[in-house]
């Protein structure tokens, strides 16, 4: 019995992806770029979207899932509005990143990769952000925060929340 989930209405508006399907869909080696664009548009990669992409570019959904699950950048669960990337590189580890993670997890009340109930935050550990001289470091919205302490990390989260409340 075939899967019919893609027949019904999709969870996201695929019209937005059309120009990129045209650009990368047939191109040699374009799959990763296409998936990156899709995630940029929708924030995550729902299964029905992936099946739809597979059908459109003529590859098996399993192949797409293989690529999506191989790379850490791709998310198959929705992410919060603010993605917090906690650096767990060597320099950050030596300078106490484990404690920062503890404080962030405690404050947000979720585990790594989970979204907070209000949909504001998801936090992810990342291997290295390459700002080692400022360790420990975290990144959110393209901004890097360095020299973190448990307190300053929580303060930054609170500031983001305040920005949202306004």
């Amino acid at each position: 019995m075939g899967c019919n989930c893609a027949e019904s209405a999709l969870s996201v508006d695929t019209a937005l992806l059309e120009p990129y399907l045209a650009e990368y869909g047939g191109a040699e080696g374009g799959l990763i770029s296409l998936l990156q664009k899709a995630q940029e548009l929708y924030g995550w990669l729902p299964a029905d979207l992936l099946i739809n992409i597979a059908r459109r570019i003529g590859v098996k959904p399993a192949k797409i899932m293989g690529v999506v699950t191989f790379y850490t950048q791709f998310r198959t669960k929705p992410a919060g509005k603010h993605l917090i990337l906690l650096c767990q590189g060597t320099a950050c580890h030596v300078n106490g990143s484990a404690g920062i993670e503890e404080a962030v997890r405690e404050y947000l009340g979720v585990d790594e990769g989970e979204m907070t109930e209000n949909g504001l935050f998801t936090y992810n550990n990342v291997a290295c952000l390459g700002c080692c001289s400022l360790s420990p470091v975290m990144m959110s919205g393209g901004k890097t925060y360095g020299g973190l302490t448990k307190d300053s990390a929580v303060r930054i989260l609170k500031e983001i929340e305040r920005g949202e409340a306004v």
């Binding site: 767990q88 060597t90 300078n95 080692c132 393209g142």
Partner: protein
Amino acid sequence: MRVTVGKGSCGIAAGAGEVFERLERDGVKPAVTGCIGMCWLEPIVNVGDKTFVRVDAEAAGEIGKYIRGEENGAERYAIRQEDLDNLNAQVRVALRNCGVIDPENIGEYIAREGYAAAEKCITELTPERVIEEIKASGLGGRGGAGFPTWFKWNAARGSKGDKKYVICNADEGDPGAFMDRAVIEGDPHAVIEGMMIAAYAIGSDEGFVYVRAEYPLAIIRLDIALRQAREKGLLGKNIFGTGFCFDIRIKAGAGAFVCGEETALIASLEGERGMPRLKPPFPAQKGYLKKPSNINNVETYANVPWIIRNGGAAFSAMGTENSKGTKVFALTGKIKNGGLCEVPMGRTIRDVVYGVGGGIKDGKAFKAVQMGGPSGGCIPAELADTMIDYRTLAATGAIMGSGGMVVMDGSTCMVDMARFFLDFTCKESCGKCAHCRVGNRRMLEILERICAGDGREGDIELLSGLAEQIKDGSLCALGQTAPNPVLTTLRYFKNEYEDHITHKKCTARQCKPLLTYSIDGAKCTGCTLCAKKCPSGAIAGEVKKPHRVEREKCVQCGKCAEVCRFGAVEVD
């Protein structure tokens, strides 16, 4: 007077954006530069040949007055002479323009002899002559292995095929390393020019830069540089009025450490899972889309224009017998002056840690330096006089690697360090080889057990045995080198493993389950803060009287030591 603000990723994180805006508001028109490497002094502002460091908005106001010739307090922020001396003691080849030119302005690169080397190669030299020059320089791959660059170029040139590719590996994945990010953010044209020369040498008309997705600013700067080069006719068709055509595209990685391995990188470029494959065929024979491809690292390409302009002999005059030229290092961890530096091969680890780096933070004792990331190892302080040279470093069990140097003091537990790297390798193993996929997982479990206080007699032998099997049984360098952090810590810090296993002690006081907490009655004021914060109710005592830890209830979380304002909690 030229005013510049260092706006690399680290400078921006330290507040360079606010400083830049403040200067603009004050009517100064500053230019942007990349990272000069003195990350511990960021944000940095240059006015003519004067350098101001740790500049905040207030300091920027004073600098504005200094520029306008008004009375000012800018001198307080002037760089210290010894920091300047440290910078001048470096030899900057790959970093020659970083922190000096505006990376978003091709004119500034050209003004410093930019693209002169590419023009010379394409209009005057034969491809064979270019490869000869690179051979004379002794340049080795800066991604870590040090493989002779000319050899790769020559092989790609010799491969039959009408279509060939030049690929730049900017998938800088070693945690604790950021040399390539700094080069692309600070001097993207040097990389483009190096790739152009490689393309001419091997006979290619198309190139890719594979950049980590975690480096958004590098991608932006590279994109700007590529567009400007195209506008100037330096990329595209009939470059320098010759029939030579070449262009470059950016491919953003999607987060997989193993894609730094060249065959995995090619698979990823092709849109596949980044799994390494057996070599031969080498990429020079069958690379991207099965066409001959030349892959070099960012720093390798950045050296190339300098070599062509100054001659291979000038490059090989620096360094040691088997390691020529200079190397860029990212100095981080428990170091006083963390940042980026470039020194000639042949200097010692001590020169870098104490000379450039200013020694250990807070005057503590130097314990070890980790070189080469997850493929490398920990070199103990006793070997600080080891020369920076591919062979000498390999003899210690570590490797030169891509240039990450993470410095450690007595508060770093070496067993935990080995566990940290294995945890990384386990997450990043592509899963193709059983030894790497399963063997590393087993090693990690043993290390986790040791750190949790459940180490057993025989664990050390078990780890050593597994390490050798993983080295032999893995296809790519990620698996083959994954046991190195364990092997080097076992070699130089075996006593710490024994302390954990036999005596259930962590002398660095990092492995919490092995620690015991007690309260010094003489120092405790009975403020009750620790008792309130203790999650297991293990602290007893009356207000204003010394408290005590009830061992059987304690979960070793360390909260009491963290919150105590009187230093009364003793950790052992």
